[in-house]
Subunit: 409 residues, 2 copies
């Protein structure tokens, strides 16, 4: 990709309302563009990162047998009345009306819709278990929406739902999801605390949050360095836990953290509200046991930026970087231009995803943009490197560079 | 994929409101599930087809240099007031309000949003041309929504927008898009008439519709078998064309057709309404010249079903089929079961996408479901085929089958 052609280039200054590091860097780097409070356009650079995260999630969920599908944004009010969440959910729903005055929620989550589907397709224990997920646009009518992608009013979420005949089967699947989540966060370069939490308006008895320690995080998490136990502030207080780990009695530490994913054991909450039942092996009607599991993709992207940056810009982990190599020619003499084109062709032929800064900007501007955008590896071609028939190769995460012969690329 | 585990299996009967062939077959086959009038869940089978179509579109648009990105569903009313379309667009907008009583459209299209982006990022002719597309959820407040996926109130659309400094550059790109569209429709197995049409509430001087002849189609298209000229009914009447081809004077034929894609030459309609200008090479301010280009993915999927089916079900073209092979064991004796598992493993190892009907249903039910779902190739394993250490291989589109040795799979 030639940077000159890219829609959404770097800005000289971040938007003045931006406070969070990730908001500043993602906006300044040309990853996102704010359309309204809490509503963003993902520019091509940002969308590349988004899609890489999506695909990592898909791979890990496909491995545990979850099926991808897609539910709608518009959800009939009638379903939300069945669970009582039309008015109780927090933050409240965005709603709309059709030309027959029928009301719809703009889905912030899909328990109602999928439970309605399940009660129609599940007849007996033979139809269970199953699990299905979507990566789909969600809406939350937040009163205030600051922090860039950390708290938005519209965002893509991976939401996974699972349906089971008994608790044992649910527990097995729940464990698989925890393992899949651990792999997902690991692959996108995040270290998480798996923190016990309360269910909020999603509900359920057991929930875990995957919390990423970060100063900007709105959650307060207490964790045990010794055994790995973690719990969020609300539940800690509810349970009357003091500063000792309830598992191993070591002292609990605390940290601000960003909730990057959450898993809920819903039990029969939704299946009872909505009569989603099945006939068990003895011929008896039973409510289906459910779980739901969410990861907000945009927030995850911002979280990565919050924990992987320096004073110059973002440092993308390789697996989610928008490009693998940022190619920067220094100087505009003919030989530099020609050789850079040659290197560009070679790298593409090698299967690399290359961002080629072909603009007529100064070396300072181009190198600063390379650091800001944060592609993992930078290739610089200059008269000096060409004296040795080489390019200068530098990792974004390291200070030192080395010369690599063009013939060896 | 084991069919027993699939979310959304075949129905014995199509929904009673279904009239269009594609609606009946997609619902009965377990591809889609209606949530409300004109609002559907794509079940895993249907979503697989959807994603294959998406990826074909991506490949062809990436080849012409268009950049993928993603704009939001929620669009501020203020932008729609600038173009006057807040009230004029037909069908009307779905709208919603936030907690500060600020109004938003649920985007049916994104000219306003991307023109707003363009006027902020484009300064001079050096920032042009560029083109960007998204595959994104759209909303149309249709009064009536029948016909399954042919006319919905929520649907994924590929919308591409292009921005140019002059008409010549626009014309070149427009031609590239026409070629890309031709390739896309060809790859998904559709023959189209490229029909001249009027712009409707999207606007612009020249528009072409990619029309697929089909009895269920709501459009009436006049076309010339001799030279390929085609024009829709409204424009034909507007231009006072009778039954003679204006290009070659041959007699025009007419057909009902489904509009599967549309391309618009927008000129400066939006850039003038919204002050999206650039400084040209002489230092003069000029409005940006624009084009927009849409394909509704769900409608395309339904269109394929409308033209590729028989009395037993859908016949998916290979490139968009949910699976490449439908594997059906006949009989439940141990050898059949074991050998089918062996074949299943082999096919997966060969990189095939296999739908394995592992249910305990009768041969009649399983074979009927295979025809209904319409996977291009069916493999049957039975005691009879195993007598010859073989499977029976049959194309969905053909009557005859042949035996293939399991050792040769």
């Amino acid at each position: 990709m030639r940077y000159s052609k890219l829609l959404g280039k770097s800005l000289r200054q971040p938007p003045k309302e931006a406070e969070a590091i990730s908001h500043k860097l993602l906006a300044k780097g040309g990853f996102i563009d704010q359309l309204a409070a809490g509503i963003y356009t993902f520019l091509p650079l940002g969308w590349r990162v988004h899609k890489k995260i999506e695909n990592i999630i898909r791979e890990e969920l496909d491995k545990i047998g979850a099926q991808e599908f897609s539910m709608s944004v518009l959800q009939p009010k009638s379903l939300w009345l069945e669970t009582g969440r039309w008015t109780s959910i927090d933050p409240p729903l965005f709603t709309t009306k059709d030309r027959h005055d029928k009301e719809y929620a703009l889905g912030p989550t899909h328990e109602e819709v999928i439970t309605d589907l399940a009660r129609r397709v599940v007849k007996s224990y033979k139809d269970l278990p199953f699990s299905a997920y979507q990566i789909q646009d969600k809406f939350r009518n937040e009163l205030r929406s600051t922090g860039g992608l950390l708290r938005t009013r519209e965002f893509f979420m991976k939401d996974l739902y699972s349906f089971h005949a008994d608790k044992k089967d649910f527990d097995q699947f729940f464990k698989k999801v925890l393992e899949a989540y651990t792999k997902i966060f690991d692959r996108v370069g995040l270290k998480t605390l798996v923190s016990q939490a309360s269910g909020g308006t999603i509900g359920g008895d057991v929930t875990y949050e995957f919390q990423v320690p970060a100063a900007v995080g709105e959650d307060l998490v207490f964790f045990c360095k010794s055994c790995g136990y973690a719990i969020n502030k609300e539940l800690l207080e509810e349970r009357g836990i003091t500063d000792k780990c309830p598992e191993c009695r070591a002292k609990l530490d605390q940290t601000n953290a960003i909730e990057a994913g959450q898993v809920f054991s819903l039990g029969t909450k939704y299946s009872k509200d909505m009569d989603a039942n099945f006939i068990d092996e003895t011929g008896k009607q039973q409510p289906i046991i459910m779980g739901c599991y969410g990861i907000g993709i945009g927030r995850l992207m911002a979280t990565i930026a919050e924990v992987s940056y320096d004073d110059k810009g973002i440092i993308w982990p390789e697996n989610v970087a928008p490009f693998s190599i940022h190619l920067v020619p220094i100087g505009s003499n003919k030989k530099v231009t020609e050789k850079t084109e040659e290197v560009y062709e070679k790298l593409i032929k090698n299967g690399e995803e290359v961002l080629f800064d072909d603009r007529g900007e100064s070396p300072g501007v181009k190198l600063a943009d390379a650091d800001l955008i944060g592609v993992p590896i930078r290739y610089v071609v200059s008269e000096k490197t060409l004296e040795k028939d080489s390019v200068e190769v530098k990792k974004r995460s390291e200070k030192t560079s080395k010369l690599v012969k063009i013939s060896q690329i």
